[in-house]
């Protein structure tokens, strides 16, 4: 039987600037899906998943947009090595957002 785990890597965080989740070690898993939700009004948000050799230096891997009319978007990822994070841009002090990000791992 496989192991699976869902971590909440941004828990209802209010953002008004570029935002990145903390570095997350996912090396035990072979597949990952991130779910990015915005609670309440928000501007168009650009979402990216990044990978890293060390949790310090980051490479952009895949991206999506969570438009102002959407509440949730998902981004699947494989062959990510060990480190993952989600970067969210587009929130400002005039148009903030409250984000909830889940990371599901399986392997």
């Amino acid at each position: 039987m496989q192991t699976t785990n869902t971590s909440v890597i941004a828990r209802r965080v209010k953002i008004s600037d570029d935002y990145a989740t903390l570095p997350y070690e996912a090396g035990w898993a072979s597949e990952a899906v991130t779910f990015i939700q915005a609670e309440g009004d928000h501007p168009d948000l650009a979402i990216a998943v990044e990978v890293s050799p060390d949790g310090i230096n980051w490479v952009r891997r895949t991206g999506a947009t969570l438009s102002a009319s959407q509440q949730i978007v998902d981004l699947p990822l494989a062959q990510f090595g060990n480190w993952l994070r989600v970067v969210i841009t587009g929130a400002t002090s005039e148009q903030p957002a409250r984000v909830l990000v889940h990371l599901n791992l399986k392997g």
Binding site: T3, N5, S7, V8, I9, R11, R12, V13, L22, P23, Y24, E25, A26, G27, W28, D54, G55, I56, N82, W83, L103
Partner: protein
């Protein structure tokens, strides 16, 4: 029924009490250790009013202890440990914990076997993230462990905290959970009236903290100086042993063991509070780590044993 028990060889590095309830090796998964969060039971799934943001703690991870210039460190036996981590958001040690500046791992259990003693043991290590030059030991404020216990009368939290560094200066002394005389609920909740946590509940977040590292919820353990291993660099971790034994019949501490050093805690009592609704017989073990600076720090748990007698 006649029983023949064959103990896992991994238990050789522990000294459990008569009945092992959980032996959690994080090579096999999270084993039910999870992030510590508040109760999202108010309107719009909000939580109770708190000066400390209890939603802000970093997510626990299964870690291979991958280092920047070294390699994956692995765990004590195997590849994975449970990493309890923080955001790079440490503030002054005299203030309430800042958002994300602590990490916690909790397991939710309940009383079984009518025990007199409960005990946690762990093999663990800690280090900061190597995201800047230098040695880094002084960026780790504290690591700690406590039980959240409720019996038929009282809720109480026996626990210990290793104060490693305060304001960038190494301290390296143990404290235990006990509320000082005269602390009011308003003191405890940093001015919030009718806060959810009464004095003696959740000392890791609440209670005023003072310049010398003492606090409303923490007392210095007599003779509690100890120089734990910090191996000269953020990318080298050495696995260390911790044991805390509590007498839940007498509601008092028994012993703290750290490495081969044993601290006799008989006669010291945690602070008893009136029981909360619906949680009689709850026993939750919780580990935590605190950062002392604007740098993430990590507590790695190789394996944990919870036993009773």
């Amino acid at each position: 029924m006649q029983k023949f028990l064959s103990y896992d060889r991994g238990l050789e590095r522990f000294n459990p009490l008569a009945r092992v309830i959980c032996y959690d090796d994080f090579d096999t998964g999270f084993n039910g250790w999870l992030d510590l969060t508040p109760n999202y039971v108010e309107e719009n799934y909000e939580s109770f009013d708190s000066v400390v943001d209890l939603s802000s703690w970093a997510p626990n991870q299964l870690s291979s202890a991958s280092m920047r210039f070294a390699s994956s460190h692995g765990s004590m036996e195997g590849t994975y440990s449970l990493k309890v981590t923080t955001a790079p958001t440490g503030g002054p040690h005299t203030e309430p914990p800042r958002n994300g500046s602590m990490g916690h791992a909790i397991k939710r259990l309940s009383r079984f076997g009518n025990p007199k003693l409960i005990q946690i043991e762990a093999w663990y290590s800690y280090t900061p993230v190597q995201d800047r030059e230098g040695k880094g030991e002084e960026d780790i404020r504290a690591i700690g462990f406590f039980f959240d216990v409720q019996d038929s009368e009282y809720r109480y939290m026996p626990g210990v905290r290793y104060v490693n560094s305060l304001g960038g200066k190494l301290v390296k002394k143990w404290q235990y959970y006990q509320v000082a005389e005269g602390v009011t609920p308003e003191d405890w909740n940093f001015g919030v009236k009718d806060g959810w946590c009464v004095p003696g509940v959740d000392n890791q977040w609440y209670g005023r903290r003072f310049e010398d590292g003492s606090g409303d919820g923490y007392q210095w353990l007599p003779g509690g100086e100890q120089d734990l291993v910090y191996n000269e660099s953020p990318d080298k971790i050495n696995w260390m042993y911790l044991r805390l034994t509590v007498d839940i019949e007498k509601r008092e501490y028994v012993e703290l063991q750290s490495g081969d050093q044993v601290f006799d805690m008989r006669g010291i009592k945690p602070t008893l509070t009136e029981g909360y609704a619906s949680i009689d017989n709850l026993i939750n073990p919780i580990f935590f780590i605190e950062t002392d600076s604007e740098r993430s720090v990590n507590l790695y748990l190789d394996s944990v044993v919870y036993s009773v007698e």
